[in-house]
Subunit: 349 residues, 2 copies
């Protein structure tokens, strides 16, 4: 085989542009690349490895002879087209939430549960951005010390809400700096009735509210974390709770994570050792040098950065961590392409 026919579904969005560049930098042999989007975006010309490619409208026929689909065009679009793509023989890595909790769909962070790929039936789900960067840090701790409880508060960048929200937040910031009133038509959540400025503000709503008062983003963090970590393990359940907050940052989610491990003798040094050995993690933790993860320094990097490692001195076995990663790379495009690399390497396409 001299390469794969690849299609990117949702090629024109903030994640889509990064899917193209991450694929270009990957070791996946691409024979042909098809850029798919909505009718509105069809005709746009984008570049892949310096070659111009015209964006096509997605139709049921788009997936003929396609071996691999990387999808990030929204849950509805994935729900509509991925079963068709699978039917016509493609393997799909889906960056939407459409299939994540489907028991037949592996939910994968390659450094954590690559072996789950073997059980795929055509669709592999990419976890939510805020889940990925937390779970890649928690997995080595879980394996070494056990994990009883996780309490996370997120500080999520606007790019996770899409390019239009990102542009709006920058416009709001300029309004404020011009001493004009800030206006909002998208933030915090496109499609919801009320909109509030995000620039120089904090909005504790990401996605819609569930009946129990949690947002759907919080629900995702709780349930996806369990699906990934407890995947094919005969382990007791891990308690997880989350509070998700949108912050006026462009790129890079922050997470303040409190964990209680099962091994009461676990130490900060032990946790640090596990994190240092973990592929995809960079420990950035030196208070004497004021070294700690920041969105500005994590943006554009594939790795997840962990710092501010501290023991809760009143609660043996409990620790605080501060985790930052580029939500559009490890949180989306890079993890998706990395899954595809693993599928290729493991002969699963």
């Amino acid at each position: 085989m001299n390469g794969y026919n690849v299609a990117i579904l949702g090629a024109t969005g903030a994640v889509g542009s990064r899917l193209i560049s991450q694929l270009a930098q990957s070791n996946i042999p691409v024979k042909n690349l098809k850029l798919l989007a909505s009718a509105r975006s069809a005709g746009k010309v984008l570049k892949f490895k310096n070659e111009p490619l015209t964006v096509e409208e997605t139709t049921p026929d788009s997936f003929k002879n396609v071996d691999l689909v990387l999808a990030s065009a929204g849950g509805n679009v994935s729900q509509k087209f991925l079963p068709i793509a699978v039917q016509s023989g493609a393997v799909c890595v889906d960056n939407t939430s459409a299939f994540r909790m489907d028991p037949d769909v592996p939910l994968v962070i390659p450094e954590v549960n690559r072996e789950a790929l073997k059980r795929h039936h055509g669709i592999i789900a990419n976890p939510n951005c805020s889940t990925i960067q937390m779970v890649i840090a928690l997995a080595p701790i879980y394996h070494a010390f056990g994990l009883k409880q996780v309490i996370v508060s997120t500080y999520q960048a606007v790019s996770g809400a899409g390019q239009a929200a990102w542009n709006e937040m920058l416009h709001q910031a300029q309004q404020r700096l011009n001493n004009e009133a800030m206006t909002a038509k998208i933030t915090p959540v496109k499609g919801e009735p009320h909109h509030y400025p995000l620039a120089f503000n904090l909005l504790p709503q990401i996605d819609v509210f569930e009946d129990n008062g949690y947002t759907h983003e919080e629900w995702k963090m709780i349930h996806e974390t369990k699906k990934i970590l407890l995947d094919d393990m005969d382990s007791p359940d891990i308690k997880v709770t989350a509070t998700c907050v949108r912050v006026p940052v462009e790129l890079g989610h922050g997470e303040s994570v409190y964990i209680e491990v099962a091994d009461k003798k676990a130490t900060v040094a032990g946790l640090r050792q596990q994190l240092t050995r973990m592929p995809g993690i960079i420990v950035q933790d030196d208070p004497a040098e004021q070294l700690y993860p920041q969105p500005l320094t994590a943006a554009g990097k594939r790795e997840t950065f962990v710092g501010r490692l501290r023991a809760d001195e009143e609660n043996p076995g409990a620790f605080n961590l501060w985790i930052v990663s580029d939500n559009l790379l490890k949180g989306a495009a890079w993890n998706t392409v990395e899954i595809a690399e693993c599928l290729v390497e493991d002969g699963l396409i």
Copy 2:
């Protein structure tokens, strides 16, 4: 008596300007007001109730015939001058950290532990901004249901780092919007060796680092919370841990707080009832209406706003809360003036 001679120490700072306006709006009868600051600021003219007042340099003689001092000029300044002020007969309400942990100094949030004022020896300490807004919300829950553990992650506005840091962050934002490189000489912590831009970024460092990896801000939240809540109560200890993060917000700290209460039968409805009854608290919590506390809507208000009340469904007796308050009002100037109002009402000056 036809009023008090009042001095404001540190009148020209971000908190100082608000001490002047909060005092003007208070029910304290002011006979004479003296505005004190460093030599550099002496000569500036500020207004109190539309009357121009010239700022004077603080000297040991400044406190003669002064009945009440409101201090917010930094810990060193309070340490140097407040004992002199007390010596000359003044009562001092100090918004710095200089005396907060002194066992002879009451640490007071009037709605929570007003009775501690009776034990003052001339100095009353105003708690740290991030402590005040958390403890005013936790106190009624603690009294009704007991409190076993508190895990807080803060989202702290730049105004808490002073007017110069605030100006710098706005300048950084304009640099970014002009596509220029952002520069930093103050953020995150004035006087520390390294500086990083805060605009469109997150900086998990407020104040200097302690030996155990916690920042001094985190240390303050842990120890001040205990001093206030456990003040004159024969109660078991409360576990507290904190992660403090500076965010690109101008005014209004956010706090994601996870609590475990002693009464396992406590419900969200029960917590809501306690919070609704608490003076100084406004419950803003209606997911159906997308109603939740935000810095932009809390700025300029004296109250503390609480929302996103949720039970941890996997951990009976545990709850998540989202708390926002104007860090320069309830977190600083208003709580200081409110303490002074109580001292006057209770005949303690």
